[in-house]
Symmetry: C2
Subunit: 167 residues, 2 copies
């Protein structure tokens, strides 16, 4: 499961990684100016990844020299396509600490996940991107991905969700 790239190692997340994962998640929320939506805690993340029925899967990247110091995290789960009648691999989050960017870790992670999707017989490998993030879109297209122009995410949460549930 571990994969080496240059001076880096990608491996499955361990319970001891959780506090660092949550710190990196908070950095990402801050970067995306979404801190007010950020509700993750060590307890919730630990339960998500390490309960008997995990609700998400996490990978982490460290340097070879410091195998306990996270420089990136990846969260994914299985989605599902009815038309294919198969599960897919959905990349929920990938975050690389700023000082480790520009060294190919993004490509490395995408390739690793593509391999995993094929190994797990997934119909698709999917994620989302902000439509104004041209650098990211170019990067994904360079790796063979297609941006679906017409689909929009519809979301019910918080009070709106409770209101519909109680109607």
């Amino acid at each position: 499961m571990n994969e080496v790239f240059s001076n880096y190692v990608l491996r499955p997340a361990l319970p001891t990684d959780v506090p660092q994962i949550v710190n990196l998640m908070r950095d990402m929320a801050e970067f995306e100016k979404l801190l007010e939506q950020f509700k993750a805690t060590d307890e919730l993340v630990h339960a998500s990844l390490f309960a008997p029925n995990p609700t998400a899967h996490a990978l982490v990247i460290t340097t070879k020299d410091q195998p306990d110091q996270l420089v990136a995290y990846i969260f994914w789960f299985h989605n599902y396509s009815t038309f294919r009648a198969k599960r897919g691999l959905y990349l929920e989050d990938i975050y690389i600490a700023p000082e480790h960017r520009g060294q190919g870790l993004g490509s490395f992670a995408l390739k690793h996940l593509a391999k995993q999707a094929v190994e797990l017989d997934c119909a698709r490998f999917e994620w989302v991107v902000l439509d104004w993030n041209k650098n990211a879109i170019d990067f994904y297209e360079h790796h063979g991905a297609t941006i679906l122009p017409e689909w929009r995410i519809v979301r019910l949460e918080n009070d709106a969700l409770l209101k519909l549930a109680q109607s």
Copy 2:
């Protein structure tokens, strides 16, 4: 788990429903002009729903009089939000046979799923819509949902996925 609405009953799908589900799925693919992407078979759908670790969950709607004759199907699975550090409920598909539309089954199904999302402690209830489907967007907004304007789905599948996996 069963819920009654007017002359209809919503219930979890049974193994004996699979051939009818696949027929309705094919009708939907035809309606969406996506038949060339349609790969579902009875065997694949049965495995998805009734294997020891199901990869999707299905509900069906029948009339009260004909509890074996499906008039609608719903597929959902759990997605996950890192920022909430919780799973969500993702509605993959809802299809109502043409002759049973306009009677409130769409609202009934959305409310049922919203209740289920709350009961299962989901952070969100989400799905997708085509940006040109104004009737659907109005309907979802009427039920309290928000359309996220900026996110685009990124997809790798078939040869492009294999190519990246083997690179």
